[in-house]
């Protein structure tokens, strides 16, 4: 390569024969392998298409099953009832204060109304069965109306009231109520006959299930809602995002742009990668030991959940951010450095904006993981039965996947559809998060 003077004719006429002979040979050899190579490619393509088709099929089956099971939960049955708000039965009069109005005996009023509607229920057992057609939610509904308008006391009003989950399921299933033997339900034939009467006279209707989105958890399926879990998830994710995003991005920038390459940074890098592979329940144990037992943060609270999920999300975001920073072409760094930008200016003005779409994608992946996480939250007590909607990050709360877990464990049949409905809401939450990520990506990518 250096001293060509010593070997002037090294590549003279001799090799040309050799070349043409080789060329002929090469043609034949290549021809012989062509069919095999193309077959291999075809096979590989087929594997790919098959894999994608199979995964699409499974996804379709999964989603279809969830939606078929879950969609009925978004509607609820209401019963029309003529209720006399008898002050004597309620035990209050027009001068009652708010607390008294709330505590009044609305159950008696509803029972009376039902018995007036179906006078044929005379036996004790029949009366009990009749009472069970209405949800306890109906009492809260009447209480709310009376609170809003105390003038209703003493009047007779026609109201649409919440039906019990069994009646709700019966009406929504759309079966023929005249043949009670063919129906699989826990309701008695007598109850089905009453339901049929309601249906024939148009005294039942199904409408949007607002209770599902406004209530917290409940032992009564028709009153159970996801509001508490949804709020809890939102608070938890907020804490997770606020903690993990800045810390992870700062760590990634430092490690990628400023840290010297030595044994310490190698150890840190290996450990970050290992952290990403630690089972999430271990983080839950750590959260229990450190945040609750040592730091005495409130149990079951989104702040602890957020802290634990941050620990879990950090490695994901760090790894994604580092990859994204590494992918920024070095020529951009050189250009800025060559102009006299300080290392920090190079990063903030040029590298970070270009890496931002990738960092955001990593963040969303991490947060999506956190949103679906159950195990570590069980350890810190977010598996509680939460009726009240949490109002701050220190209130006891639960999250969507834990709510799904709790409902899936409940024996009442109406919880089956609510479990699936909660999964649909969880998926909706995820889709919304991804949509935000896509929007942000678009916004940052325009700077290219």
């Amino acid at each position: 390569m250096i001293d060509v003077n010593n070997s002037p004719g090294a590549s003279g006429s001799e090799p040309s024969n050799d070349t043409s002979a080789t060329r002929k040979n090469t043609t034949e050899l290549v021809k012989a392998t062509l069919a095999r190579r193309y077959a291999a490619e075809k096979r590989f393509r087929f594997y790919g298409i098959f894999a994608i088709a199979a995964s699409l099929l499974f996804l379709a089956v999964l989603l279809t099953s969830i939606f078929i099971k879950g969609l009925p939960a978004f509607t609820a049955t209401k019963v029309q009832l003529e209720v006399t708000l008898d002050t004597e039965l309620l035990g209050i009069d027009a001068t009652a204060n708010e607390d008294a109005i709330r505590a009044a005996n609305y159950a008696a009023v509803i029972k009376k109304a039902m018995r007036e509607r179906f006078p044929d229920a005379t036996k004790r057992k029949q009366k009990k069965e009749l009472d069970r057609l209405m949800s306890t939610g109906a009492e809260y509904d009447i209480a709310r109306r009376v609170q809003e308008n105390p003038n209703l006391l003493g009047q007779t009003v026609t109201l649409w009231l919440q039906a019990d989950d069994e009646l709700d399921a019966l009406i929504k299933s759309g079966v023929d109520l005249t043949k009670p033997d063919a129906i699989s339900t826990r309701m008695s034939d007598q109850q089905i006959a009453w339901a049929n009467q309601f249906k024939e006279t148009g005294e039942v209707k199904t409408g949007f299930n607002t209770a599902f989105f406004t209530n917290g958890d409940s032992r009564e399926p028709e009153q159970a809602g996801i509001r508490a879990a949804l709020t809890g998830s939102a608070f938890t994710l907020l804490v997770t995002f606020l903690l993990s995003f800045p810390i992870a991005v700062a760590a990634a920038i430092y490690l990628e742009e400023f840290a010297p390459q030595n044994r310490w940074t190698d150890i840190i890098e290996v450990n970050i990668n290992n952290l990403a592979a630690v089972p999430s329940i271990v983080f839950g144990l750590l959260g229990l030991a450190v945040f609750i037992n040592f730091m005495h943060l409130p149990r079951s609270a989104p702040i602890v959940g957020g802290l634990v999920l941050s620990l879990m999300t950090l490695p994901t975001i760090i790894i994604a951010s580092r990859a994204s920073l590494k992918a920024v072409p070095p020529s951009i760094r050189e250009a800025a450095t060559g102009l006299g930008a300080s290392p920090q200016q190079v990063v903030w003005h040029h590298v970070l904006p270009l890496a931002m779409p990738g960092i955001l994608t990593g963040t969303i992946i991490g947060l999506a993981q956190a949103l679906g996480e159950t195990a570590p939250l069980l350890m810190i007590g977010m598996v509680a039965f939460i009726v009240d909607i949490p109002t701050s990050i220190t209130d006891a709360s639960t999250v969507l996947p834990v709510q799904v877990f709790l409902w899936a464990d409940s024996p009442e049949r109406a919880f089956v559809e609510r479990t699936s409905a909660a999964i649909i809401v969880l998926l909706g939450f995820l889709v919304a998060m991804n949509a935000v990520a896509v929007l942000l990506r678009k916004k940052f990518e325009r700077r290219w």
Partner: protein
Amino acid sequence: MVDKALNDTHQSAFDAIKETVGEFTVADPKMRTKNVDVFYGDKQAIFDVSLDIGNNEVIAMIGPSGCGKSTFLRCLNRMNDTIPTCRVSGSMSLEGEDLYGPNLDPVLLRARVGMVFQKPNPFAKSIYDNVAYGPRIHGLSNNRAELDDIVIGSLKKAGLYDEVKDRLEAPGTSLSGGQQQRLCIARTIAVSPEVILMDEPCSALDPIATARIEELIDELRENYAIAIVTHSMQQAARVSQRTAYFHLGKLVEVGETNHIFTNPSHELTENYITGRFG
């Protein structure tokens, strides 16, 4: 066997380069380097190079690939600082100030010694912001009008203004390769450096764009000292006043460009410029 023979010839060629032929100093240097050695880890890339860069001159650095000319160029504004294993010894100075001394911060140095790279590398910003970036970070303008003047002046000097004056807000990356390289030159000029280093600025460009850049280099010589690394000997002959020939990390010969190209003193230089190798 072959490898060993090659290594031997390599070694003998390396040993044959005793000291630089020709006058490596100038009377009134802008930058002066003496006995510079550069190491990447254990590997030495530059051996005992001494070279001056004069005022208002274009000095071309030529030589086969891997001869260390780019490495040397990048030492002149401490771009090699970004490579952790890189180590520089010897003395390098800009107007008598030590480049690696405590008084000359690398950020300040790079503002005074600008650099144009092999591949056009405009920022992911508008044409205007590309040129305005340097003045902005160094605080060279007090208001928008002054900044406008700097940007437009730089674009004019780089011979790009007429082509882009209607779309200063368009992204820098939307320009053609040659335009992008002139944008990079405009960006460098905008900081008003004293020296401009060019690392094969035309290697990614077509002949027409190359011709425009060469014209530009010639015009810029009036105000700046320019050091250009190039693989094209024709380009070196066209644009430079002095030429330095590097080989295997050593500076073999340096002298007036027409002297080097018509009557080289060193055998290796002659072999290279006559196209026997490289």
